[in-house]
């Protein structure tokens, strides 16, 4: 989650007296970048807590690695460019925290650190910094890690602390590669809601993610259209396939893997999501459709990350296509 709204939160006034010019935005939300970033970080606390609760305190190591890697890169990049230090605005911290929460438990902290460096360095800084990146930085870091360390990124064996029975695979992995008869009995909706299943750190507990979503929606930081359209899309597209005899129940699609985490924390990134409400609906539905397609017909058990990255690439096009009509102009 990042923002491109004006940094200080105050209007910039040029000139004096009767000839003063005020740059846009004229109606400001009133929140600075830093306040938004730290609030979003706060909304991730329930997810972090659920990760510690289910997988043990050891999961703090990769999270810390990712945060340190991201923050250090942000600091170094600002220094090298002779730009004002952007570290205190919290965006790099948030990127690192998000990245740390989407790696498996027991992931090497050093690799997580590398992921943080790639997130900020290649995901954000090379495009010109906050507001100019086309892809979600945390997901760029994760995609790099997924391609670099495929074994480490799919090793769920450390998820043992409070996760009984199903400790060796994620629900989606079980669905894709496991024994169908065992699958039905092992994955109860209740477990997916609470989160005592295998998976990436922050993504298993639906309740914790919804608590974070509540904070984002009450403070009106995130656009509800993206969250609602993505979840709705999951139900609709998953439901259509399920009725056609393909795939698990739509509820399983939405509750398993990174679907909710992606909908609440990743797809809602200001910089890499459409600016118009109509565009946000297209964006969310597109992510849901791609995710269901990858899960059902692709080679991977999970597809939320690649779906969001692909739709990120489509955002400029969506923005162009859904530009609102200027008042008084013809259609």
């Amino acid at each position: 989650m990042a923002t491109e709204s004006s940094k200080g939160g105050s209007l910039q006034v040029i000139g004096e007296g009767n000839l003063s010019l005020v740059t846009s935005p004229h109606a400001h939300f009133g929140w600075s970048t830093a306040r938004i970033m730290w609030t979003v970080s706060l909304s991730l606390v329930p997810c972090l807590a659920s990760a510690v609760w289910f997988f043990g305190a050891g999961v703090l190591a990769p999270v810390a690695g990712a945060v340190i890697g991201a923050a250090a890169t942000e600091w170094v990049v600002a220094r090298l460019n002779h730009k004002p230090q952007t570290l205190p605005d919290g965006s790099a911290f948030l990127t690192g925290l998000l990245l740390g929460l989407i790696v498996p438990p027991g992931f090497s902290p050093l690799h997580a650190l590398l992921g943080g460096v790639v997130s900020i360095g290649i995901g954000k800084a090379v495009f010109g910094g906050l507001g100019d990146n086309i892809f979600n930085p945390a997901l760029v870091g994760r995609a790099f890690l997924q391609a670099s360390f495929p074994a480490g990124m799919t090793d769920w064996s450390a998820s043992v602390a409070r996760v009984d029975a199903v400790s060796q695979a994620t629900p989606l992995g079980l669905y894709k590669f496991g024994d169908p008869s065992q699958f039905a009995s092992d994955i109860a909706t209740q477990k997916l809601l609470v989160g005592n299943v295998g998976g990436c750190l922050g993504e298993t507990s639906a309740v914790a993610i919804l608590a974070g979503a509540a904070i984002l929606l009450v403070t009106r930081i995130a656009h509800w259209q993206i969250m609602v359209s993505m979840v709705l899309g999951g139900f609709v597209f998953g439901g259509v396939l399920h009725l056609g005899g393909v795939g698990p129940s739509p509820l399983f699609h939405v509750l398993s893997g990174g679907f909710l985490f992606g909908a609440v924390f990743m797809a809602t990134d200001y910089v890499t999501s459409p600016t118009t409400p109509r565009g946000q609906w297209i964006f969310g539905l597109g992510i849901a459709l791609l995710t269901i397609l990858i899960r059902e017909f692709g080679g991977l058990p999970e597809g939320v990350m690649y779906s969001i990255l692909m739709m990120n690439a489509a955002v400029p096009l969506i923005n162009r296509g859904t530009r609102p009509r200027i008042y008084g102009a013809k259609r």
Partner: protein, 217 residues
């Protein structure tokens, strides 16, 4: 041609100032595709350099005989002849290398470095200068490909020219030998080259300013 650059400058410009990879951004397709290992970079670079030198010499020799309208077609025929020589030689003498470079050896025919040098240099200069120019470009291309291949092999496989160089517990970044890693390595290398060039320009400016100040004093 009244005033000509020196022969050594003609050679050296291909190494950095007009490096085909770093400055002209030509021939990027094989650059991205084959640099998964340092040895591949050397092989591809030398094969291209050989074709480049031979083709430049031949094209420079026939430059006054070829009508302007058919010059590109003539270049392609000349280049294709030498590419066939390289392709068959590599298949006979270095089958493993030939296999790992695959289609990119025959594709040297359409490598824009070679056509670029033919059009921009060999068709306007004598055989000796053309060969020197081609040598410089070939060496520059080979150096850039070897560098990229080396970086990607070290990070992506923990080895250099097949010899393990990283600590035993190093976990290779597999992405670096995948296509995406080629773009990462090339992009960051171009960025670094730009930084070095800007730095060199600034220090040259500063030196010039110091020199002119000294003259006035």
């Amino acid at each position: 041609m009244s005033k000509q650059t020196s022969i050594s400058a003609e050679f050296l410009k291909g190494l950095w100032e007009q490096s085909p990879t770093l400055r002209q951004l030509l021939g990027l397709c094989p650059t991205l595709a084959v640099t998964t290992a340092a040895a591949n970079g050397v092989g591809m670079g030398l094969a291209t350099a050989f074709v480049l030198v031979c083709a430049s010499l031949m094209i420079s020799l026939v430059r006054k005989l070829v009508p302007g309208q058919v010059r590109i077609a003539t270049y392609v025929v000349v280049v294709a002849a030498f590419v066939t020589v390289v392709d068959l030689t590599m298949k006979a003498k270095f089958p493993a290398m030939s296999k790992s470079l695959g289609a990119f050896i025959p594709l040297i025919v359409v490598n824009c470095i070679i056509l670029g040098r033919a059009e921009a240099f060999a068709s306007k200069n004598g055989p000796f200068r053309s060969v020197v120019d081609a040598l410089g470009m070939g060496v520059g291309f080979t150096a850039a490909l070897t560098f990229l291949g080396g970086v990607r092999e070290i990070l992506g496989n923990g080895s250099l020219f097949g010899v393990a160089v990283m600590p035993a517990d190093y976990d290779p970044w597999i992405v670096m030998i995948l296509p995406a890693g080629g773009f990462f390595a090339l992009g960051l290398t171009l960025g670094a080259a730009n930084i070095i060039n800007r730095w060199r320009e600034q220090s040259a400016l500063r030196a010039a300013r110091v020199a002119s100040a000294a003259k006035e004093a």
